[in-house]
Structure formats: C-alpha cells, structure tokens
C-alpha cells in the first residue's frame, strides 16, 4: 500500500517547509506559526462538500416523499367529492361511484398481514431457535444460505407462485365453490413465506447476542437444552424477536406484487350491521383489495394527472407511509426500551 500522497509534489514541499523552522532563530516565532498554519485546500473542501451533498440527498428524498404525498392528498381532501371524515369512517370503496372510504382497503391489508404473521411467526421463530441453539455448524451452513436465497427472490415471482401453485392447491382442498380464484388466504400464505427469512434472521441475531454465560448458568443448574432455549435465551432476546416481528409486519403491509396478483382487485366493501363478521368480513377465501393493490392497479392503467383517481392513490400512499413508518419506529422503540445490556 502506498502511503498517502507520497508521490505528490504538494507533499514534498510540505515536508521541506516543516523542516525549515528548525534552522530559524528564536525571534521568528510569528513567522513559524504562520508556516505551521493549516494550508487551505480548496479542492478538498469541494470534495467534502459534495460528499455532504450526497448525504443530504437522502433528506431531499424524504422531503420529496412527504411533500408529494401531502400535496396530492390535500388536493384529494379539498375536492368536494370526499371529506376527511368520510375517508376514515366509510366502509365502502367505490371510486366509480365516488365512494372513498378507506376501511375496505385497510381490512384487506390487515387480513393478509394477519394470515402472513400466522404463517411466518411460527416458522420464522422456530427456525431461528433451531439455527441459533440446536444446529451444528454444518446444518447451519446448509440451511442459512437457503433462507438467504428466499430473501433474494423478487416478489413478483412469489406472486406468480401464489397464482399457479398455492391458489389451485387451496381450491383443491376446500373446493372451488368455497375458495375464489382470487383469495386472501393464498396471498397471505405467500406473503408469510416471503417474510419468514426476515423474521428468522432478525430473531436469530437477537438470540446469538445473548451472552453464553446465561446459557452456561442454566446448564449448570441442570436445565436441558430445551429449557435453556425456551426459558432463558428466548426471554432474554425477546425485545429483538418482537422488533423482528414488527418489521416483518411492516414488510407485509407494504408488500405489493403478491397481493395484487393473488388477492384480486375488488375491495371488500362491507356493512358492519348487516354483513356477518366471520362469514364475509373476515373470510379468508374471498377476494379483497389492499392499499398497495389499489395503488398498483390504478396506476397500471393509463392514469391521467389531476383526476380524483390520481389524487386518491396519494391519499392511500400517505396512509400506508404513516402506518409503515409507525411500525418501523415501534420496532426501534422496542429494541431501545427493552434491550438487556449484558456485560
């Protein structure tokens, strides 16, 4: 490795300047000070300035997101067709009939997220416990890369998988009259599969951060491996595990392609009084549209600017942004608040 700037002319000159004061008389202290003063380097200032600018672009991105979502949402709510109250209370989403109540879309998102968590939390946590506490290095070396492969697969491919494999299987099991071609269950299961590696890797990180002295203490008291894992390591890593689950949830809420392809494009409009809660509202076998699904479907057509449809996707986007931001900061707060400091 070359020492920094060894060959540059500037460097040699600097060295000469530094040696010269040795020969100076005592009276020339002021002069010496002057020479030892930091040399101005305008080139470097420019470089550091542009590095700072690169960092500041991320701020511009956030500002841009907030500004555009806010501006278009404001246009949406100031339109006489829809009011903020109606948007957040109505349970009918029919853009054609100018009914904009966000609850059917939130319902769709919630259903899929809950199903996804039912799939992903047991599988993800169990995998994490096994990999962190039980697996030999060889077994770990086999399973860990496979889970990482799962992370790398694009979500649209998961969507293809949902349509061509999971949905037909579900329709075979429960009957084609019960399960619709587009249904929430298929989308939920596949989104669950999608977030398994996320939850398992975050949980595993949390568990391997638990100091081994805790494990050894428990073993010393006669605990079995099972007791050590479930009663010592998991509770000690609980904050990290919970944070991982919340992150997984945020990911499921923001997931677009699987739900667009597998869950259908019909918002599940409901009426709290007359529709049966478990028969229709929460039914996993029927189609539902999610917030992300609505945005994707609406934007995939030729959408013209400054229409109510165009503005509505921004109002939904803002809601989605707030929800995911809330979940992400919740997870960070969990880690901060409940983290155990072991030393």
């Amino acid at each position: 490795m070359q020492p920094a700037g060894a060959r540059s002319a500037g460097h040699t000159r600097e060295r000469r300047e530094l040696t010269r004061p040795m020969a100076l008389k005592l009276g020339a202290v002021d002069n010496m000070k002057e020479q030892l003063k930091k040399r101005r380097r305008p080139g470097e200032r420019v470089i550091i300035g542009s590095l700072f600018f690169a960092g500041a672009i991320s701020i511009a991105v956030t500002v841009g997101i907030l500004w555009e979502l806010g501006k278009e949402s404001l246009l949406f709510f100031t339109d006489e067709v829809v009011s903020v109250g109606q948007f957040f209370t109505s349970t009918v989403w029919q853009p054609q009939a100018e009914n904009f109540g966000i609850w059917p879309l939130i319902l769709g998102t919630m259903l899929i997220t809950v199903i996804a968590l039912f799939v992903a939390v047991p599988i993800g946590l169990a995998s994490a416990i096994y990999l962190s506490e039980y697996a030999s290095p060889r077994v770990r070396g086999f399973f860990k890369p496979l889970l990482e492969v799962l992370v790398g697969i694009p979500t649209v491919v998961f969507g293809f998988f949902a349509i061509t494999f999971v949905t037909p299987i579900l329709r075979d099991i429960f009957g084609t009259s019960v399960v619709g071609f587009f249904n929430v269950l298929s989308a939920g299961i596949v989104v669950g599969l999608l977030i398994v590696p996320l939850i398992s890797s975050l949980a595993e990180d949390a568990m391997s951060a638990v100091p081994s002295s805790l494990r050894q203490a428990a073993y010393g008291l006669g605990a079995s491996k099972l007791e050590v894992s479930l009663r010592v390591v998991v509770p000690a890593a609980l904050s990290g595990i919970a944070a991982g689950i919340v992150i997984g949830m945020s990911r499921a809420v923001g997931e677009t392609m699987v739900v667009t392809l597998a869950a259908g494009a019909s918002p599940r409009n409901f009426n709290l009084g007359s529709d049966s809660v478990f028969g229709y509202i929460l039914s996993p076998f029927e189609a539902a549209q999610t917030m992300t699904g609505y945005i994707a479907i609406t934007a995939s057509g030729d959408i013209s600017y400054d229409t109510i449809d165009y503005n509505s996707i921004f109002a939904i986007g803002l809601t989605l942004f707030v929800i995911t931001l809330g979940l992400n900061s919740l997870s960070r707060r969990i880690v901060k608040r409940f983290r155990q400091e072991y030393d």
């Binding site: 490795m1 070359q2 020492p3 920094a4 700037g5 060894a6 530094l18 380097r41 470097e44 550091i48 590095l51 700072f52 690169a54 960092g55 672009i57 991320s58 991105v61 956030t62 997101i65 555009e68 278009e72 993800g124 169990a126 995998s127 416990i129 039980y134 399973f143 496979l146 889970l147 790398g152 697969i153 694009p154 979500t155 649209v156 491919v157 998961f158 969507g159 998988f161 349509i163 061509t164 494999f165 398994v196 099972l226 509770p235 000690a236 809420v253 923001g254 677009t256 392609m257 392809l261 992300t292 945005i295 994707a296 995939s300 921004f314 989605l320 995911t324 931001l325 992400n328 900061s329």
Partner: protein, 467 residues
C-alpha cells in the same frame, strides 16, 4: 429484568428410582418432540422455497398440444422447395419472403413492409411509386427510414402470419417426462367432451410436441401478442438499461454519502438527522418510491426525463431515465448502509497511520481507507442492484409500458422490464402466458443467481482480514 424467586416448593416426597426414570424419560421425550417441531418448521420454510423453484422450472418446459393453420411443411412448399429435402428451419431469407408472399394477402404485406422493409434495395409488397409518395409525405412510415428485416425476423413473421400456431393445451415438465400419454388422453377427452371449445379444428390436426418455453430464442425474441412466438428481448434490454441508470446514480451518491457519514461527519444534529433518516428510508415500502417517481420524475421533471429539453425523446416522462432514477432512489439507503458497514470494518490504525504520515483526512480516506473497503462496498452494491432488478411495484407506478415490441435505445426511450413482463403475463388468464411467465421468472432468477454469485466470489477473494 428483575428476577423474582418463585416460592420454593416443599418437597415432601422424593421420587423413587423408578419414578425418577419415568420423569426423566418424559423430559427427554418432550425435548425430542420440541426439537423435531423446530426442525420441521425450518424444513417447511426450505420446502416452500423448493416448491417455488420447482413450480417455475416445471412450468418452463413441457409438452404442448398445437394446431397449425398451415403446417411448416406446407410453408416449405409455399417457398417453392421440396419438404422432403428441406425443413422449415433451413429456409433462408429469400425463401421465407417467398413463402410470406404466397401465404398472406397483399394488404397485410404492405402493412408489414411499412413497419419495416424487407430489403434495402427493393420492395416486395408495395409498388415503388406509392412507396416514394408515402415516404415523401409529412407522415412517413417507420419503414422508410429503418433498416431491413433480417432472416430471423422474417422467419418469425412467417410463423406468426402463415403457420399461425395455436397452442390449445399445455402440461408441466414432470408430467411430460414421466407420463406423456396422460396429457394426450386428456386433450383427446376434452375434444370428445367439449367439441364446442374447438370449432375450427379436429383432433387429428393436433400435434403434440415438447416445448422449452425457456430457450435462447425466447430470450432473444421481442415481445408479441401471440404467446407461441413471444419473447423477452425487449424486457431484458429494458432491465439492463434500468440497471445502468440505477448504478450510475446510486453508487456514486451512496458511496459518497457513506464516506461522508463515516469519515467526515461530526456528531452534529444535522448529521444525526441524516443517519436516522437513511435508516427510516430503508424501511419505506417500494411502492411509495414509485409514487415519488411518478409525481416528481415523471410528472414535474417531464422536460428532463422525457428528453424534450435536449430535443429528443419520448412523448412523456415515462422513460428509462425516470424509472432508473426511481430505482436509484430506492436502492440508495441500502447502498449507503452497506457501504457504511464496509467502511466501519476498516481498522482505525490504518487511518491513524495515514494521518501520522501527514496526510490530510481526504488523502487518508482516498488512498488508505477506500481501497481496503472497496470489496465490501462492491459486495453490498451488487446485492442492492440485484434487489433493484426484481423490483416491480415502483416500475408499475412510473408507468413501464405494458406492451412494447421496440427495444429501448437510450435513457429517453419508453421501455418495459423483466419483472413487469412477468407481472403482465401472470395476470393473463390463458395457461400459455403462465408458462411464459415461468420462463421469464427463470431468466430473472438466473440473472440474480449470477449477480449473487459474483458478490460471493468477490467477498471470498478479498476477504483477507486486515488486522
């Protein structure tokens, strides 16, 4: 965590050796059961992955039942050759043009010639006089200026216009290999039971043949509305253009930001804000970036992204440039965070040594820190780019056109991309399109595999620890 000691149970009865053995075996059994449960869950996750990959490969190949309007042998006859000695694949461009002339009517031929001409020096369907008139008019046809069609293109035209293959049923790879007869029986039964589904054909016309949906010609053919000849060249080229723009934007900016935050930033409020902000951005759903791209890059900056400011380009801002920058913004936080990790892994002693020799901070960073950190930065960047290639939702928002047969030619052209193509095909109901989507997915996965492999090799090659 406060540990509360549970009340100590008063042990009145100690287990006898027999009872003790029972208790112990119960405990071991429970441990075994739970361990098996954990392993089972892990296996389920891996099984899910395997089934997913299997589904894609299974759908990418398989037997198909095809009905041709004109059999390829007749196509050879149309070209004026003997089908006994020549097969369709051997036909050259001139013979193919002859077959096309014989097989389609004049008006269709003129339309094709106006799209793109067959020969540079002569016309096939259009009379010279009307062609000259057309090209001299205010609105000349694209064929007036573009180069001539090549043999592969003409061959595709003959297949599309003359042979007109129609795939009426498809099966998966495993079924085709293990039990090909079942598929033929199934089609025959369908002909017998639902004759109204096939008004134009009889069962005798059906040909069963092996078809690799994923093949070289699939990768090199342009998109088409006919599933039998549709390919992904346009989409692959679109994805390559997108990645180029993404990398050109995200890598310099991302690495620059990481260098600033790791090496120069003093812990001021502003710098803390930047760091927190980057962590937050990494968690924003990709579709939100798509909305940012739509509102700012496609709409507000339309003069720039459509290229009209530079005098060229597309009718609107839905171009490679806008989409590539959107993906760049999306990738940026990931690039920054992974580059920061790579920089953090550089031991401080290197920096101190550099500074101790009298180098300035920037000189130290440039000549000492960055060279050591570059393998790590590259690995992180490749992984981030691999993620960007698979992103679909933001591209839908910025309006990747659904059906384009023209390959993108620069940053200002309209485009489609591989994941968009998969999305479009998957949402179509006919099974042929599903198989095309599978083949396109396979292409995408192989592309990602190559990129990830490159990242692993890079990591292993340069992972000498500097201590």
């Amino acid at each position: 965590m406060s540990i509360e000691a549970p009340e100590r149970p008063v042990q009145e009865h100690f287990p006898t050796p027999d009872e003790y053995a029972g208790l112990l075996s119960k405990r071991t059994r429970r441990a075994w059961v739970v361990q098996m449960f954990l392993l089972l869950m892990l296996t389920i996750a891996v099984l899910g992955l395997s089934i997913l990959l299997f589904t894609i490969i299974d759908d990418s190949f398989g037997n198909v039942a095809t009905v041709n309007q004109v059999e390829p042998e007749e196509g050879v006859v149309l070209a004026g050759l003997d089908p006994a000695t020549t097969s369709f694949g051997d036909l050259g461009k001139d013979e193919l043009v002859t077959a096309l002339q014989a097989g389609i009517n004049r008006n269709v031929g003129r339309r094709l010639e106006r799209e793109q001409r067959f020969y540079e020096d002569r016309l096939v369907f259009e009379p010279q006089a009307s062609w000259d008139e057309l090209c001299a008019s205010d609105d000349p046809a694209p064929g007036c200026t573009s180069s001539a069609r090549d043999a592969g293109n003409v061959s595709l035209l003959v297949q599309e216009q003359v042979i007109e293959p129609d795939i009426i049923a498809v099966s998966g790879m495993v079924e085709s290999l293990l039990n090909p007869a079942a598929f033929e029986e199934e089609v025959a039964r369908d002909f017998a039971v639902n004759p109204e589904k096939y008004p134009d054909y009889t069962f005798d016309q059906v040909r069963f043949q092996w078809r690799a949906w994923f093949s070289w010609s699939f990768i090199t053919s342009p998109a088409s509305a006919t599933p039998e000849i549709a390919g992904i060249r346009t989409a692959v080229l679109g994805s390559i253009w997108l990645v180029a723009v993404t990398v050109l934007f995200a890598v310099p900016v991302g690495v620059g930001a990481a260098v600033y935050l790791e090496e120069f930033a003093k812990p001021t409020r502003l710098n803390d804000l930047i760091q927190t902000n980057i962590n937050n951005l990494a968690g924003v759903p990709s579709i939100i970036y798509g909305m940012l791209g739509l509102a700012v890059l496609v709409r507000a900056l339309e003069p720039i992204t459509s290229g009209s400011l530079f005098g060229t380009g597309a009718p609107n801002g839905r171009t490679v440039l806008a989409a590539g920058l959107t993906l760049g913004l999306l990738t940026l936080p990931v690039v920054i965070i992974s580059s920061q990790e790579a920089l953090r892994a550089v031991p401080g002693s290197l920096r101190q040594a550099g500074m101790g020799l009298g180098a300035t901070k920037w000189q130290t960073v440039r000549s000492q820190v960055l060279p050591v950190a570059i393998p790590g930065i590259l690995t992180g960047t490749i992984l981030a780019v691999a993620r960007a290639i698979g992103e679909t939702a933001p591209l839908i928002l910025v309006g990747a056109a659904s059906f384009i047969t023209q390959s993108p030619s620069g940053p200002f052209s309209q485009f489609t991309a591989l994941p968009i193509q998969i999305f479009q095909w998957t949402s179509l109901p006919q099974p042929e399109w599903q198989h095309l989507a599978a083949a396109a997915s396979l292409t995408l996965l192989l592309l990602l595999l190559i990129l990830n492999g490159a990242a692993v090799i890079l990591r292993n090659k340069y992972s000498r620890r500097i201590t």
